[in-house]
């Protein structure tokens, strides 16, 4: 090994997506992201963790360019996908390049059937009917439940089925990377495991990279390779998933377990106050 080589993620794998110090302002006044940088290697599952309002969703929307429809704007920093700057593209162009977002709260098309939902996911594709049909078959193989419900209106399916439908719909665009926002929201623990298992399987067999925003730190760190922790619009900690899982502060603040045994509430409060990363 060369002396000057620092073993970063970049040296190990191709970087698919790199977000470089972005700042996001909503409505010209509300500063939400104060300089977020992160990288997604090709074939990785990267977790974006943090509490409500930390900026996870905003980061994902900044990448997928859905911000502009919400009067938000990336004012500083750059976003590169496969080496090309993508922060000025429309969501339509970005989907064509292979980045698709699954929004928080599923957002299925309620009045369309599950199958029509999936087919809308293939809107940007130009490779013909048979290719789309094959992928529909692939999605049904990953999510057998969707095949059963193919003719039901999506609005009448369960939360878990809607989450599967939303992921399946994203898959139909043949993406290289899926931005997955809060897949566990409102789902039973068993279903959360099921969804994450499928994410893992898609990652391994279809080679899709994932950047997922999660509040459920425990599950996310078990399935992800690498994690970033956001607080108040800044990355405060990042590292290999295993490292993060063992980090005392992560345990204390996000996993709700602590190695030092039971403490008195006074100690905990004091510790947390002392340890807050940001004022």
């Amino acid at each position: 090994m060369q002396a000057d080589a620092t073993p970063t993620q970049a040296s190990e794998k191709n970087i698919l997506l790199s977000v470089n110090n972005i700042e996001v302002i909503y409505d010209h006044v509300i500063l939400v992201l104060k300089g977020v940088s992160l990288e997604v290697p090709d074939g990785g599952i990267i977790a974006l963790l943090g509490a409500n309002g930390a900026g996870k969703t905003t980061t994902l929307k900044a990448i997928s360019n859905l911000l502009r429809a919400e009067r938000g704007e990336v004012t500083k920093g750059t976003i590169h996908f496969e080496g090309n700057q993508v922060d000025r593209l429309t969501p339509n162009d970005l989907v064509k390049q292979g980045v698709v977002q699954v929004m928080e709260g599923r957002h299925c098309f309620e009045h369309l059937t599950i199958e029509d939902n999936l087919l809308t996911g293939a809107y940007t594709r130009k490779d013909g009917r048979t290719a789309v049909q094959n992928d529909l078959e692939m999605v049904y193989n990953y999510f057998p439940r969707l095949r059963e419900r193919r003719t039901s209106q999506a609005g009448y399916t369960s939360g878990g089925e809607q989450q599967m439908c939303a992921i399946g719909r994203a898959l139909m665009s043949r993406p290289k990377m899926i931005l997955l926002d809060e897949p566990s929201m409102g789902l039973a623990p068993q279903l959360v495991e099921e969804i994450f298992e499928i994410v893992k399987k898609l990652n391994e067999t279809e080679g899709v990279s994932f950047l997922l925003a999660e509040q459920n730190t425990n599950v996310a760190l078990r399935y992800a390779d690498y994690g970033y922790i956001l607080e108040n619009g800044r990355v405060v900690l990042d590292g290999e998933a295993a490292t993060l899982r063992d980090n005392e502060d992560v345990k204390e603040f996000y996993l709700g377990v602590s190695g030092a045994g039971r403490k008195s509430f006074r100690d905990v409060k004091h510790y947390k106050r002392r340890k807050r990363w940001l004022a």
Binding site: R71, T90, P91, V100, C108, F109, L112, D116
Partner: protein, 332 residues
């Protein structure tokens, strides 16, 4: 018996009789007249349907209630008529009108819809009110304020009438070929629109945008393009409605008030349903004509004007989404 009480009874029984007995006696007594009136109602209804259809197409895909639909119908009709007036062959006049409506759709998307993206529906509704007044003024500058007769011959619309069922009744029923043309062509157009919405990729995308435009954006459906498509589509409907409606009387700016007639039709049929617009229009049209003829005595002269709104009000109470509208899916 007391004189005033007797008077009251006779008025009340006269009123109830006029409401519930006399019309039905008249139905049975003169079935030819009934059929005649129903057929008139049908032809008026088809016209309402065509205007309502333009609303539905835009509302479905963008959730915008397009107040300017009525004036678009006038604008489209006058474009065709004026072009034929200056000597353009009918077929080219219609093709050119399609181009004009397409260009208008692009302009509306650029100038009105794009800057207002993600604003609440009421803001967009206000914008379409502004658009309606602009189009009216702009149209009067171009076409002049006077109504113009539609050159039925040049457009090849038959203008004769059939007399049918003469053997059964005292008088034969008159069926106007103009109405029949509107009915058949309108039916074909609706079938085409339904096929487009349900069987094509863009149609599916259109329904997706109608359901959740954020999600549609996230899967890569380009909203500006979809908006141009729906406004063009409703422009096409407007051309047809403008010409057919104009053929019955004249193409002029007074037709713009028919937009208000489409309102009860939309409430009845449902704002999001293409078949609903058609059936709603027919129901309202037939009811109006029947009311005008049979119930005018008891309900007053203006009954044709307000009966549609009363029906709409009753429907709103029991089925807020209309007869055929998409059910409002709520999870609790």
């Amino acid at each position: 018996m007391d004189g005033t009480a007797f008077e009251f009874f006779s008025i009340a029984s006269g009123f109830l009789g006029g409401l519930f007995v006399d019309p039905f006696i008249a139905f049975v007594d003169r079935p030819d007249k009934l059929i005649q009136i129903v057929s008139q109602g049908l032809s008026a209804g088809i016209m309402y349907s065509l205007v309502a259809l333009g609303f539905v197409v835009i509302f479905k895909a963008s959730g915008v209630f397009n107040f300017a639909q009525g004036i678009m119908v006038v604008f489209a009709g006058l474009t065709v008529v004026s072009l034929i007036e200056i000597g353009v062959p009918a077929i080219f006049a219609i093709l050119l009108a399609i181009v004009v409506m397409g260009a208008m759709a692009v302009a509306i998307e650029r100038v009105v819809l794009r800057p207002l993206v993600n604003q609440p529906g009421i803001i967009l509704f206000m914008a379409t009110i502004g658009l309606a007044f602009f189009l009216e003024g702009f149209g009067q500058t171009i076409f002049g304020a006077d109504p113009k007769p539609v050159p039925i011959d040049a457009l090849g619309i038959p203008d004769d009438k059939f007399r049918v069922l003469g053997d059964f009744f005292r008088k034969p029923v008159r069926i106007y070929q103009l109405d029949l043309t509107a009915l058949i062509a309108g039916g074909l157009m609706v079938a085409a629109i339904i096929l487009f919405l349900n069987r094509t990729k863009i149609g599916r995308a259109l329904r997706a945008v109608a359901d959740d435009n954020q999600a549609a954006l996230s899967v890569g459906i380009p909203l500006p393009f979809i908006w141009v498509v729906v406004w063009t589509l409703s422009g096409l409907v407007a051309i047809f409605a403008g010409v057919m409606w104009g053929a019955q009387s004249q193409a002029g700016f007074s037709l713009a008030v028919i937009a208000l007639k489409a309102l009860p039709v939309l409430i009845l049929g449902g704002f999001t349903s293409v078949p609903g617009a058609i059936l709603g229009g027919i129901i309202i049209g037939v009811t109006e004509k029947l009311a005008e003829f049979y119930w005018r005595g008891v309900l007053g002269d203006g009954v044709e004007q307000w009966i549609g709104y009363v029906i709409a009000l009753i429907i709103l109470l029991f089925r807020p989404q209309g007869l055929f509208g998409e059910k409002i899916i709520e999870r609790v």
